[in-house]
Symmetry: none
DNA sequence: AATGAATGAGTCTTCATTCAT
DNA sequence: TATGAATGAAGACTCATTCAT
């Protein structure tokens, strides 16, 4: 139906892998700083210490770069959440809440870029259609690991709300940096309250 | 030399207000559809039935238009939240939670634009520095109205978390449209849980 | 089926008409000098004394400019050929041959551009599909005016060959400039021979 | 220091010739399909099953490739025309006309590329300056072979016109493919008429 | 005040050519 | 000699903004 958008090209040599990583990092930094549209391909290449031609060798379009960046974020989140799922069985709700909140604090930078891209890049949105909600399904797995008997329906609804909720943590952390106090702590409290209700009942 | 009859200007001002409103609406629609960068001033003017020159008469730059739009959103939110504050005294947590969630569902369209602008427009970000968190302070007022004895510190921290939380409601509503069930309901539950804790204790 | 390519925009003011003409002339000159690909839009605008933005105001793409140029050529040829058709009735073959050869000598510059475009620009080729052979049908009209009884089939076949033949006249004229002699004269002779055969029999 | 065994190089040279031929064929195909500018060196190399580096080993620039291709066309035309000259003595005008028309039909593909290059590549045009009209001089030889007494001046003028005329044959053939009839036949007739005049008188 | 043509800096992207491996 | 990653100049096109009418 639709014309297949060219994806990122895989590097074959070791040098290429390093370059791709540098390019992705530069893209992440600039997209986060200026937003998708305002960041220019030329500046991204420069920051990665590469030429514009080199950037296009691996990412044939700005959209392709954005998509690769988004995929990297989803993969990283999945990895960490799987780790949490592995340990979730023995944890109390407060501990699980802490783990999830801390995860978002750690991934703050990645998350910013991912949100920017999800809001600006048609290609990224399209590649997620029908919405697959990768992160959410990993969170659902965590919840089921924490309470083995939970129904699919319940774990899905809870995971949706929890996923959205923890996304706000970076904003709270930023608000603290602007002079607030105890915002993240209050979020831990709210999340704990909710997890106690759905896990302990 | 002669005193202008103020009456004569009245219709002009009236038309001006209508035109400004039309321009803001057109801007809101296009920013929501395409994002800030992709929306063009020419198209915004067209959709408002005005010429590009007319648009620049009222908003001297694209950033100025964005800022005006953001301010309109903040004002509207403030107005509604003040209304809720007026009624908050006699409500139970679950009722208050419903009011806040419903508010976000009603303002969904406005909210989308506001977020888009907050993510893309330096001028909007700058105009909020140091962050004044207008919406948050109205939410804090609601909480204090619901529990008159609450400390400023507590109401601030809670309002911050609640404000961020209710911002996720439009996303949950959208997820339901893509085939989920009970997401918004689950959010009401989580918010109720939290409000019970901070209001009833 | 296919996405409608945006065509040239009609100027509304007098100044605009002059500008469009200047732009077309500049385009014709540069396409003829360097070929379609090698000619740049920037240089075309410059030669017309306009800005690149102004060029794009009237011709939304390079293809659109090419197409407009080609259409102008077809129109001009049609006009002149219709004039010849009006006088063809009383002419002897040699006189008609002269008229046709002279026409090509006069239109030499236009013809060069038209051929260049027909060979390089997909949009021009497409806009002629299914081939309508505008010039050929005008030549056929000339032949039928010269010999009223001629069948449609005969006039079409003869017009096709004659049209292609007279297209070679500019090349012959150029060859004379590089030191040859009597080439165009020889073409008149060959064409006369053919016209005598199809008109006098 | 030591004398290289020539035998060892032989296979390399042989492979080299094959590779050059493959590269020329790939270039011809792509220039014909897309035009000179739109065809890329990378794609030409790919289609020939060679690397871009290899292509530049044999043809140091895109222009050099174009020139080589054009020369190959001229050589091939010369070869065939010499063959016709060898048989021209005993032929009647109609037979000679057929031979020349058929030649163009056979060489249609080659001819397309040659014309494309002649219209787009400065280097090819330059390499023909002062115009040497290789093909024309072979045609002149054919005419002199058909009528031994013909003056140089006459054979030159006639060869010029005939050469240009037969170049139109591929276009006529194409027009037939788009639904016309008898165009090539009409060209044979016109050429026969002319050859009868210059050869039989 | 209103209009919309004109401007040109800035963007993404391509591709001939080079050169390290 | 062969390969293909790297380079960067150059081109088509966009759009915020200005200003003559």
């Amino acid at each position: 139906m639709s014309i297949e958008a060219p994806r990122a090209k895989q590097p074959k040599r070791e040098r290429g892998k390093q370059r791709v990583a540098a390019l992705l990092d530069a893209g992440a930094a600039l997209f986060a700083e200026k937003g998708y549209e305002a960041a220019t391909m030329t500046e991204i290449a420069q920051r990665a210490g590469a030429s514009i031609g080199s950037l296009y060798q691996f990412f044939p379009s700005k959209d392709a770069l954005a998509e690769a960046l988004f995929n990297r974020y989803v993969e990283r989140m999945g990895l960490v959440l799987d780790g949490i799922a592995g340990r979730a069985a023995g944890l109390r709700p407060a501990q699980l809440a802490d783990l999830l909140v801390d995860l978002m604090l750690d991934m703050r930078a990645d998350r910013d870029v991912a949100m920017t891209l999800l809001n600006s890049v048609a290609a990224v949105v399209e590649s997620r259609k029908p919405p697959r909600y990768m992160v959410r399904s990993h969170v659902a797995a965590v919840l089921r690991a924490a309470k083995p008997g939970m129904s699919d329906e319940q774990s899905l609804a809870s995971a949706t709300v929890v996923t959205q909720f923890i996304k706000t943590v970076p904003v709270l952390a930023e608000a603290e940096e602007h002079g607030g106090q105890g915002f993240v702590q209050e979020a831990r409290r709210m999340l704990t309250l909710y997890l106690e209700r759905i896990l302990d009942t």
